[in-house]
């Protein structure tokens, strides 16, 4: 097990480096002169410009800039934005917001997705099963930003149940955005649970359990669910990382000051350091949760051992 984890950790290093270089190279190619943008309306003297260029390594070739950036990064220095503020400060300020949003989404995803999937999977072909099938198909067909408007319009404006923007109301303001962010994954979880449960219910051990007279609740709750949950749990776990990176749309619609919103603003303002820092963090989370899930996989399923 330890050796497996070590090997996986080693394998993530080139991926992390490659992904951050990819982002760095794209941002490096952002149009416009960052120094000019920094200066604003008042033109800077040539000497000041040269000094700033040297300070931000702007005259170095791409690869050298990247190496210097990573050198700073491993020491915890994410660089500064145009106003001289540390990018790490922005990250520390906004990470909790995005984390709360992702957590709310994962809770919705797990609870609603699992319940719907289990109820549908127990009785395939029933009315409820078809309802779940049709509604999940509809949910994945509606783009997230459209779903965001529908939710804002219906629950926020018409019914007045939830706040439609900002995070002024504490946890309560995360309900609607969390639900919207979770919608796509929720549909996957419901479908995955349904398929997995229905497949397991056909297994011999389930017939045996029934034949020896166990109550249906025990057959499903104790025997079948445990086996059916393995793919679902791994999906949900790995999805945490994806949800954080996917928050850019939800945070824009609901005006939530999280990391996704920060990337959105930074791309439009062409603040390279902020974009690279936060997106690299997203990639890191994505890889981290995937790794965590792979390890969890072995713990959950005794049939799988990586040694």
């Amino acid at each position: 097990m330890g050796r497996y984890v070590a090997r996986r950790l080693l394998l993530t290093i080139p991926v992390l480096i490659g992904a951050s270089f990819l982002i760095f190279a794209m941002v490096y190619a952002l149009p416009g002169d960052p120094i000019r943008a920094l200066a604003g309306d008042r033109p800077l003297s040539a000497a000041v410009q040269a000094q700033l260029r040297a300070e931000y390594n702007l005259d170095d070739p791409l690869w050298l800039q990247y190496i210097k950036y990573v050198g700073d990064l491993v020491q915890g220095d994410f660089g500064t934005d145009f106003s001289g503020r540390d990018v790490s400060e922005t990250i520390f300020q906004r990470l909790p917001v995005t984390a709360k949003l992702a957590l709310a989404a994962v809770i919705f995803e797990a609870v609603i997705g699992l319940v719907a999937g289990i109820l549908a999977g127990i009785r395939r072909g029933s009315f409820f099963d078809n309802l779940v099938l049709i509604s999940t198909t509809l949910i994945v067909s509606i783009p997230v930003f459209v779903l965001g408007f529908v939710a804002q319009f219906a629950f926020g404006l018409k019914l007045g149940l939830f706040p439609t923007s900002g995070i002024g109301d504490g946890w309560y303001s995360y309900v609607l955005p969390g639900l919207v962010l979770a919608s796509l994954s929720l549909a996957y979880v419901a479908r995955l649970t349904r398929t997995s449960l229905a497949e397991n219910l056909r297994q011999d051990y389930v017939r045996t359990a029934r034949a020896k007279g166990l109550k249906p609740s025990v057959v499903i709750g104790k025997h079948t669910l445990r086996n059916s949950m393995i793919p679902v749990v791994t999906f949900i776990g790995a999805d945490i990382g994806a949800l954080m990176g996917g928050a850019i749309v939800t945070e824009s619609i609901f005006n939530i000051p999280g990391l996704g919103r920060a990337v959105y603003d930074a791309v439009l303002r062409q603040e390279g350091a902020v974009v690279v820092g936060i997106v690299t963090l997203f990639v890191f989370f994505y890889i981290f949760f995937n790794l965590l899930v792979d390890v969890l996989y072995a713990l959950l399923d005794p049939r799988i051992r990586y040694d």
């Binding site: 992904a19 198909t137 783009p143 479908r191 850019i248």
Partner: protein, 330 residues
């Protein structure tokens, strides 16, 4: 050889169902993968005489599937709308009059008027073209890259496979919307080609993994070795004997993926980084109406419905195709 084939294919199918190599699992938890859920068995796609083939069986079950029929009708409507929008409306989408800005639906204008006072129905109808074009264009692009890279990685294995798999992992780390968002910000112009390019660059990975795993599962099959022993060249083995096995899973996946791509384009355009005015597109329409949710909700409603129905048509067809092509579900 013909005798050998069903057996080889069956064996290949079993291999295809074996748990994937651990390093690759990270990809299968990606959303598109789960949805496509292509546990399709690798099947020989060769023509069989006198007996039911996979495709004729599939066609028979498709014709009876109501979801497939609904999806097909929707798709045909939107395809015709994309190619001949004049068939649906006589109004000129660019004939605008500010005096009727944001008026609601009426008998004269079914969908009302937009902020500029243009007939909204004709605008929404003309919006189909660009969505469908980008959907197909970027799907073709992802398929080309996916098939080429996946076939190379799967067939040659070894260090080529390792390198290509790592590169795929790198792109997987960036979500489609986020990656395309940054790439588009870098590009000086943002038209149909640029948006498609951005979607291709960050969208080819699942097709690659699908093709790679099919190639790996059949490349040692008896009939492939027979072809090799008979002196068939590598391209011939790949194109004639190995890649046809990937047709079914790739078809299912790419049908659903077109829907994802169309939604992604609308999202990028909505965020202001995709298509730009004066292009007529659903994403732009929703974008310019987003602050009018309170007083002119119809401006968001109509393009959203058209957009969602287009995505839905691809998902319905893709789902039905998967059910029809997967013999296990019968």
């Amino acid at each position: 050889m013909t005798d050998n084939r069903p057996d080889a294919a069956r064996r290949a199918g079993e291999l295809g169902n074996a748990p994937e190599p651990i390093g690759d699992r990270s990809g299968t938890v990606q959303r598109t993968d789960e949805w496509a859920d292509t546990t399709l068995e690798a099947k020989s796609a060769g023509p069989e005489i006198g007996e039911a083939s996979l495709w004729s069986d599939a066609w028979r079950s498709l014709r009876r599937n109501p979801f497939f029929l609904i999806g097909s009708v929707l798709l045909v409507v939107f395809l015709v709308m994309a190619v001949f929008p004049q068939l649906f409306t006589n109004a000129d989408p660019r004939d605008c009059d500010l005096a009727r800005s944001a008026q609601g639906p009426s008998a004269a204008a079914w969908f009302g008027y937009d902020v500029q006072g243009c007939d909204y129905y004709s605008n929404v109808v003309y919006g189909a073209r660009i969505s469908v074009a980008i959907g197909f264009l970027s799907m073709l692009g992802t398929l080309v890259i996916g098939v080429v890279v996946g076939a190379l990685a799967g067939y040659y294995g070894g260090w080529i496979d390792s390198v290509l798999a790592r590169i795929t992992d790198i792109f997987y780390g960036l979500p489609l919307i986020l990656g395309a968002f940054i790439l588009l910000a870098v590009l000086p112009e943002r038209g149909v080609l640029e948006v498609s390019l951005a979607l291709i660059v960050f969208g080819w990975m699942t097709a690659m993994r699908l093709v790679r795993s099919t190639v790996v599962s059949v490349k040692e099959a008896d009939y492939v070795q027979a072809a090799r022993a008979l002196g068939a060249s590598t391209p011939r083995i790949l194109l004639r004997h190995i890649l046809p096995n990937a047709i079914a899973p790739v078809l299912v996946y790419s049908t659903i993926f077109i829907g994802t791509l169309i939604a992604a384009e609308a999202t990028l355009t909505f965020l202001g980084i995709g298509l730009q005015l004066p292009e007529i597109s659903w994403g732009l329409q929703i974008n310019s109406a987003q602050n009018r949710l309170r007083d002119a909700a119809h401006l968001i409603f109509f393009p959203s419905v058209f957009l969602s129905l287009t995505v839905l048509s691809f998902i319905l067809i893709g789902d039905a195709l998967r059910d029809a092509l997967d013999p296990k579900l019968r």
